[in-house]
Amino acid sequence: MSIDPALRQRLHQLLADYGTKVRGLIESHGIGQYGIDPADIEQEVRIRLWKALERDRNAAFHTSYIQRVVLTTVIDAIRAANARPHEPLPESDESGATAFIEPAPGPERTASGVEDFDRIMACMAELPERRRKAVALHLQGFSLREIGQFSGTSEEAARKLLDRGMEALRERLAVTGFGEVDERT
């Protein structure tokens, strides 16, 4: 498909604006922590969408198509990052100066943090599946509305599932010596 210069410039501008927004979303959602560079994703998304426009411009107008291009780009980048061998940490120099200042280990970074996590996982595994999923999604930070939407139920039904699931989890954790879980969030 031939694209005249004026239209080409306009399309490049639109894709550039969109790429900037994608980059912002990647950064705000902490996706960068999975070993990807948001700037690389921004660039790659622009290239892929431009190719899609040249190939079949009608397809590129659909929201789901654009989302798929971005998500595929992100997941491909994460996969590539996982496949890369990790660079070894630099060793201390001969003067004995410490290269890194280790942050003080908080309660979640200690061995007890791992133990606590394992205990939580063990207790969650005993929950009925639907309640377990509702609890897991809640702990991942999703709202009741989102949990209901993902589960194909109403927000009220999701709330009941979550309440019962959290209650059962607290009881089980108490039995395992985890201590009392405050209901406050």
Binding site: L7, L11, L137
Partner: protein
């Protein structure tokens, strides 16, 4: 420990624990709020793995921006097409030389008239051909034949030619007065 601390602990430990990366379509189905056949497994993975939860949140927040881009792209193409159409209409509607246009119209009219004249249907049947063949020799000039018939029969023919040519009244009255 309260629920928030438990949630933080859970997220921290599930963040880098991803056995498999999610399927894009399944994630988009969940993000759209649609229920599919493999949603249960994907939903379980979203709850279990921090990466998948983050990607699902990312996909949900990406939807409005993606929809906006789609609309803007379509508008850009539509506007460009409309501009092109406008240019073509304008070039067709505005004659460059009016006299050339008039001459063209006259020429076109002449061509149409000639073509209509030459394409008049002429019914040629065998009877017509035979009649022409028999009368061709003895009819002669029809105008003079008619004059001869008139003289022979005394019948009134064309009133105009048969009318008596009265003298010009204007001149007769002036000459008579």
């Amino acid at each position: 420990m309260n629920v928030r601390e438990i949630a933080n602990l859970y997220r921290r430990h599930t963040r880098h624990d991803h056995a498999a990366l999610p399927e894009v379509d399944a994630l988009l189905t969940l993000a759209d709020g649609e229920t599919g056949t493999h949603d249960e497994r994907t939903l379980g993975d979203v709850g279990r793995y921090g990466l998948q939860a983050d990607l699902l949140r990312f996909a949900r927040d990406l939807a409005p921006e993606s929809a906006r881009l789609g609309v803007h792209l379509e508008q850009a193409f539509d506007q460009r097409s409309a501009t092109h159409r406008g240019d073509r209409h304008a070039s067709r509607a505005t004659p460059r030389r009016p006299w050339l246009r008039a001459a063209g119209a006259v020429a076109a009219g002449l061509i149409v008239a000639i073509s209509v004249w030459t394409s008049r249907p002429e019914r040629v049947t065998p009877q017509v051909v035979a009649a022409k063949a028999t009368t061709a020799g003895n009819t002669g000039d029809r105008i003079f034949a008619a004059l001869e018939r008139k003289g022979a029969t005394g019948q009134s023919g064309d009133r105009i030619f048969q009318g008596e040519f009265a003298p010009d009244r204007i001149f007769s009255s002036t000459s008579g007065g």
